[in-house]
Symmetry: C3
Subunit: 354 residues, 3 copies
Amino acid sequence: MIPNPIATVVPASGPDFPQDRWYVAGFSWELSGKPLARTLLGQPLVLFRTADGGVAALEDRCCHRALPLSLGTLESGGLRCGYHGLLFGADGRCLEIPGQAKVPGKALVKAFVLRERDHILWLWHGSDSHIVPDREPPAYPHHDSGQYCFGGDVYHYAAPWQLIHDNLLDLSHLGYVHLRTIGGNAHIHMNAQMHVSGDEQSVRVVRHMLDSEPPPTYCDAYPFKGRIDRWQEIEFQPSHLCIWTGAVDAGSEPIDTADRGGFHLRGFHGVTPETKETCHYFWTQATNPVAAPEENLRRVLEQTRLTFDEDKQVIEAQYRNLLRFGERSMVDIHVDAGANRARRIIAGLLASQA
Amino acid sequence: MIPNPIATVVPASGPDFPQDRWYVAGFSWELSGKPLARTLLGQPLVLFRTADGGVAALEDRCCHRALPLSLGTLESGGLRCGYHGLLFGADGRCLEIPGQAKVPGKALVKAFVLRERDHILWLWHGSDSHIVPDREPPAYPHHDSGQYCFGGDVYHYAAPWQLIHDNLLDLSHLGYVHLRTIGGNAHIHMNAQMHVSGDEQSVRVVRHMLDSEPPPTYCDAYPFKGRIDRWQEIEFQPSHLCIWTGAVDAGSEPIDTADRGGFHLRGFHGVTPETKETCHYFWTQATNPVAAPEENLRRVLEQTRLTFDEDKQVIEAQYRNLLRFGERSMVDIHVDAGANRARRIIAGLLASQA
Amino acid sequence: MIPNPIATVVPASGPDFPQDRWYVAGFSWELSGKPLARTLLGQPLVLFRTADGGVAALEDRCCHRALPLSLGTLESGGLRCGYHGLLFGADGRCLEIPGQAKVPGKALVKAFVLRERDHILWLWHGSDSHIVPDREPPAYPHHDSGQYCFGGDVYHYAAPWQLIHDNLLDLSHLGYVHLRTIGGNAHIHMNAQMHVSGDEQSVRVVRHMLDSEPPPTYCDAYPFKGRIDRWQEIEFQPSHLCIWTGAVDAGSEPIDTADRGGFHLRGFHGVTPETKETCHYFWTQATNPVAAPEENLRRVLEQTRLTFDEDKQVIEAQYRNLLRFGERSMVDIHVDAGANRARRIIAGLLASQA
């Protein structure tokens, strides 16, 4: 077991991740005619779409001889194992054992609660006393609002989930890591006014960079006249972050109101532990191109991928180094305020359920 | 140490594999002018053919500085190490230390008993009190009988040997795993009459599938007129399985006698542990083509390889899943009778030598 | 922790490598405009050239969030981290935190003593009481004497450093491992007169092979008339070996004086542990071609690489086998005298600092 190397107060025992909440399990478009194997929160699962269009998640292990059910095939009745043909329904119950008249009651696999909302698949991660969810999964209206067009992808990280939180809550790294795309001038980034707020379950970081040079991705996507007034609004919750960034022509209008114009990038960032040492990163980027939406979205997504590839390289190298050097003190700097707050929230949640 | 995840009564200590018996080490055609490195039953060995045409097996470690002897070269006098040139005979004794007049008595490597019979290399795995074999290796006359032509191959498995026993003793999986080759109709397979018998050292499983559709491999190899009467006879011993399958035109003659006609496939399946977690699978397939024997054998072997590749994928995925989920109960179904009996035989042998 | 499988008296605790001495860290030509990541003696380091042409070595870990500094960029002021832009000087002190007025005193990374001499980079590996070196790094005048032309390379070994010492101190393996290049007749090698001498810090092995066949590399590089008188002089110190080999036409002049003529190969062999199980091998080969020096050097280096690739294959296979078989006794032979003496020196140094 590799301890989370940055967090300070992780209880040695107890659940590894905050419970009684929804985590992102994937995107709607990932469930086609084939079952999907994905380990989430330490649980190897098979996700699939049922004949009636619903979604289902089962433990990825046939109860007969333990073959991953994700190697099986989808039928109208359910998911059939690829070894001896046992058929399972969305509730995990075995419906048929080929060649055997009676299906014993113990022939079943564990089922999990999976919901689909706004193109996002959400998995309920409940404690023993909350196996059934007590609320709906979070809404994310921007995928379907008609105001934006969007696309996204799923990245696998050989690094713990909180290193991605750190990265997303401190966008000052843009000036050093992402010069080719969304970065822009490093000095401007590091000196931007930053306001950090939040409560026991969330963090909000707002940064304004007035009268700055537009970075390459922005220029490609929007007809800015010259310098820009730029905002970054990051909202962290343990299961996902929403990052609304954008810009208007410098001095043309205020940027601290929700109805501001200009170029918008709305990022959805679901970060779900695979194990304590690895995670999945589910992201979409929604934008409001003024013209040629398909071509503009394609370019924004291409540059987002470049950007997120750079982050992945940095974060995985950081994690390898954390493992290599072991637990050592770290020096905090001014930009860490938001990330540290998020770490305290996770640590508090883990402590409360220990 | 990874416990055998299916077996129930494996003693914690004691030898890992049944002793005082012959295991398959390879095939005759594998020993040409070069030494062959192969780990068998936890022992890293070098196998080679001596100048007089015999076969030999030594510990794969020079007694001087531990280089694998399998990196050396074969000479008329024996096997010469590729680092400093020490020469070893088939009995493991060092015959020459270049540049040194005297060869000390302690300069030797461990030698093992290797025999060649019917194109199969057999290694004696003796207990301390039976270092010397007390019987000949098993005969397998079908390689040389003139009645069949045969070919085969060696597969390495990242899975324990007993998972291959399970697979071979329950051919009902043909209908789900091997649809493209020898499978045929899944329903027929799962509902075939199965007769399981045996004694303390062997298991015999016989299944008849009357009036069934011939699978692709059968049609390619034999001029069946239409539907077929098909048999599967599996004989398990701890070191190897002999599987005699075949078919005649439906209703044309009885299939429960040894002199039945039609299409025959005689499979030899040597399964030898490499380690507790990995194994070697040595197989041959012998067949009786009515015409164009070379072309027919080539096709049968090609389809056998496809089939065994499918098995390997399933079994290795099964083992990874067994490791991932750890020890958990399994639900038995009707087709497991033969495999469970074989597991009880191995468990009994291990218990008796603990 | 994998014990050194050959050494006899390695103390269980205490430093892993002899302290208070210089080890080779690289070659001058490796430090260009980019930082170089290299783990030496268990320490992950970043090596770089400063704006004033000096050389520096820092711990490869930013004190802020642990990103490897080797992923950063070199500036005139120092090395800038590739995540949040902290700038570090050659002494490890943080000179700038972008966007933050004050740099706290604890913002620093560990600095190491690195020196450059005769194209070789030397790292001081001091004990707690000798953090500062008390002597200059070793001289190696043959790189710059004008008498030779030279080239070299850096190899990474998945094997402990002492296995390379063993290999270099016993050149009798040439006749078995390097037949294609510098080997020549195995019988001559194994029967060469060998004289081993030394003191508490060094070993000297001298071998003469009179009236022998010139090996391929020698013939390519020098116009020998026929048979040759050949010498091999190996000088071992814990951090590096100097191997002076060469030959004259058989009977033409004595070969036991330093001003002998003929063909010379002067090898520099820096062997520096990366970890206890792996090491770096820094080598140069200097030679005195009679004509076409560039073409001759190119050929000598090409054949040296072939030779050292063969050694690497043998040594890494040897180490894998040592791990596979665990600690077992070894049989010494006559050629081991020099290597065993070197092992006793290292063991003595480790014991004295335990």
